[in-house]
Amino acid sequence: MRVQTRFFAFYRDLLGSTELTVDLPDGATVGDLVSSLRGRGRPFDGLPVAPAVAVNRTYRGLEAHLTDGDEVAFIPPVAGG
């Protein structure tokens, strides 16, 4: 399956990109996606081991299963207001 990742603020600055399409084995979780990205080495290993993540605009834990076509956003600590 294939998911669409998005990076904001500090993470975007870190990676130098706002979006990335990632191929994953069926049944992969958010945690698998994070490991896969971090496994690419620099600068991806600058992402936290357990970042906040939103799947299709809802905050989800690392154990959440992904589905083909999901939008997975990496959410740095938020600072609205």
């Binding site: 904001f8 906040a52 905050y59 956003a73 959410i75 600590p77 938020v78 600072a79 609205g80 207001g81």
Partner: protein, 170 residues
């Protein structure tokens, strides 16, 4: 309910006037504004960024939870993004209700949740030309859906393990 993520300047009086009415004895307007200082450094502006599609949804959820605490549907929450100068309004929250206790609680609930959950980030611009992302709070997934019906209680998303922001808005 007026709920908006906007790139345009916020009109605080318009936000306030969107709530109120003859059933209500209390109106409360909160404004977050850009300060000229933070952690001992002089700030001359702030740049707000959002995950806009998600921020709109989260802002609506927060407003609806605040309305539950308030007991009325007279809630308005507007958050601005883009480049703001010192003194400009980044967020406006207006609520009204028959009694004041609910208005204070709902207003405070909305701003605290915005700081915990709204996917918005800000970068301070210092007078020396440097910029830095304001440290924030790590949002957490809702552990149990049951929590959704009890807005003012603990166990809200982001309440566990939230990092203390080092500064930024009030």
């Amino acid at each position: 309910m007026l709920i908006e993520i906007t790139h345009d300047p916020i009109d605080p009086d318009a936000v306030r006037r969107s709530v109120g009415g003859s059933h209500d004895g209390a109106v409360l307007l909160f404004l977050g504004t850009v300060r000229n200082h933070n952690d001992g450094r002089t700030v001359d502006g702030m740049e707000y960024e959002a995950y806009e599609e998600m921020a709109s949804e989260v802002l609506r959820a927060i407003a609806e939870e605040a309305a539950t605490a308030l007991g009325t549907d007279r809630v308005a929450v507007v958050h601005r993004i883009g480049s703001l100068a010192v003194g400009e309004v980044s967020v406006a929250i207006a609520v009204s209700s028959p009694h004041r206790a609910q208005a204070y609680d709902a207003s405070r609930y909305a701003i605290e949740e915005i700081k915990k959950r709204l996917p918005v980030w800000k970068r301070e611009h210092y007078t020396d030309g440097e910029r830095s992302w304001v440290r924030g709070q790590t949002p957490r997934p809702v552990e149990e859906k049951a929590n959704m019906s009890e807005p003012p209680s603990d166990g809200r998303p982001g309440s566990a393990g939230a990092e203390r922001g080092k500064g930024g808005m009030a």
